[in-house]
Symmetry: C2
């Protein structure tokens, strides 16, 4: 590399970085939308990934909700927007219904174009993906996945959903498989029928928040740390993590979502993973260093909107 | 592109294709080795992937066995060799023990360099991988995986092993995860303790050939098609396939190995997959066209050596 005239070189390269049509270096440049079934979080962020402004919108009808999203962004200078949405969604950019929510049970939102109205109103590129992929991308950029290449992000809340990220991209098969509906062996003595409308006793039907509440008759938030509910929960999540290790051998499984706020679950889950793998996967990450293998989401409930902002930076071909 | 003098252009380019140090157009150019715990299959193949010659060597000591492998190839003109080996193996080309079998229970073969002696004796590039990855690659080249981009190959024989192939490459995590040791819900009434030395009742411990024999007291080959053993077998394999669909959403799951010679299993497995997915994965491949989703290995027991030959073509940077 030439050592001559660094200031001239700097001058030559700077315009690519700071000169944009609609923003200046000081302005937020990117918009992120985390569209959930009960609320929508909108944020603006800068090139470094920091959040500048944020707002929370109640999810009502698609028209009213998307209008409020556009209103929040409308006067702000943006280069691109990223949207992480509740699903199921059409996430295929080549599809005529790319950016639609598809056959959701949520009333009024079936077959709704989420991406189109935002793109038309704002006139900038809008990237679109499933919420759990956005959250995983958030953890990849500055969260618990920042130091690994391949990891699984699993959220355990009102449902269970997951994403396998490799080199900053979610695995996409014929459709996003979501991981949440695995069939697992029962915990000893657990004869709860399960709470999944599709499968009854799949992982989501046995371990999501509503399943815990239905099994024990109390909200998970009201169950003390030493309640037997958490041993049952650790059984299902631990075996799910062990099965993911046997299928993908990821460097990490990051657990997020409301249920995972109960931090006492982590050592319990690691114990189940160690027992179930039984030393078969002969790598220290699966035998000695399970504290590095099974970790909490580092961005907590922020990872969705942070991932949506990362999608926006990618859409603007900025830094990702 | 210039339209002038095509015959001169042809002359210029032809030597790259047909002129090699050790072979002519008519000769076989590639060697494939499928190294199993009881036998080793060696074959030569041409650029099209066809097998020319083959031999079968009994697996005895490493020295004797590898000497016989080298003897088979020694006077044949080769550009490269591919080896698919029983495991566990070190498949990391950057590792000092790349090409070694590692901590196998097979006597005398622990920490054995398989690749090194072949490469030294023959003086050509030798590619090395786990047997199930070679078999999956064989199915990718001209087998049941030839028309899809992402598929799982699962072999059910003396053990259960698998490989997730995407764009012609096996998924490699921290190590090759092998898939065979998934934990699954029990079939109704099945209280067999399981046959896996690591896990007891994982997929391999419940569904591999030795598990079938231990559970029913008869070799699987002696069990008639209407024996209840096959319903139990279809339960475990069907749920494993459903879980793989929920994790990877592959275009196909290809089932091979000795147990899968029992073709009556296929419709039974598809029925379990359909029941267990319950319509959740909303793609015709997982709902209507399960006959295209769950299929037998097209190359049968040939896929290992055919995949090893494909590895050799890749190592010679030939056609893959």
């Amino acid at each position: 590399m030439s050592k001559g005239q660094p200031s001239v070189l700097l001058h030559l390269f700077l315009p690519r970085v700071i000169d944009t049509r609609r923003s200046t270096l000081e302005d937020p440049r990117f918009g992120g939308v985390e569209a959930g079934g009960t609320k929508v979080v909108c944020a603006t962020g800068d090139a470094s990934g920091s959040v500048r402004e944020r707002t929370r919108i109640k999810t009502t009808t698609p028209e009213e909700t998307l209008r409020a999203v556009v209103d929040f962004f409308e006067d702000r200078p943006l280069e691109a927007v990223g949207v992480g949405s509740f699903g199921p969604v059409d996430d295929n950019p080549d599809s005529p219904t790319y950016g639609f929510i598809t056959n959701t049970p949520k009333n009024g939102w079936q077959h709704t174009d989420v991406r189109g109205p935002i793109q038309e109103a704002l006139g900038v590129p809008v990237a679109f993906d499933l919420d759990v992929n956005a959250a995983a991308l958030g953890e990849h950029h500055g969260g618990a996945g920042r130091d690994v290449d391949a990891f699984v992000y699993l959220t355990v809340g009102t449902g269970v959903g997951g994403s396998f990220m490799q080199s900053g991209r979610p695995l996409r098969g014929l459709l996003h498989p979501e991981i949440g509906h695995l069939r697992l062996p029962r915990a000893s003595g657990d004869d709860f029928a399960g709470h999944c409308p599709f499968h009854g006793d799949c992982l989501e039907g046995l371990a999501a928040g509503p399943a815990i509440e239905a099994r024990w008759g109390r909200s998970p938030a009201d169950l003390p740390d030493d309640h037997p509910a958490w041993e049952v929960e650790a059984h299902y999540l631990g075996i799910a993590v062990a099965n993911l290790a046997c299928t993908l051998a990821p460097e990490r499984v990051i657990l997020g979502g409301g249920v995972m706020h109960r931090r006492q679950l982590f050592p319990m889950i690691r114990r189940v993973v160690r027992e179930r793998l039984g030393g078969y996967l002969d790598h220290p990450r699966f035998t000695e260093h399970l504290d590095e293998f099974v970790t909490p989401a580092a961005l907590g409930d922020e990872n969705g909107v942070r991932g949506a902002l990362a999608m926006a930076r990618q859409a603007a071909q900025y830094d990702c």
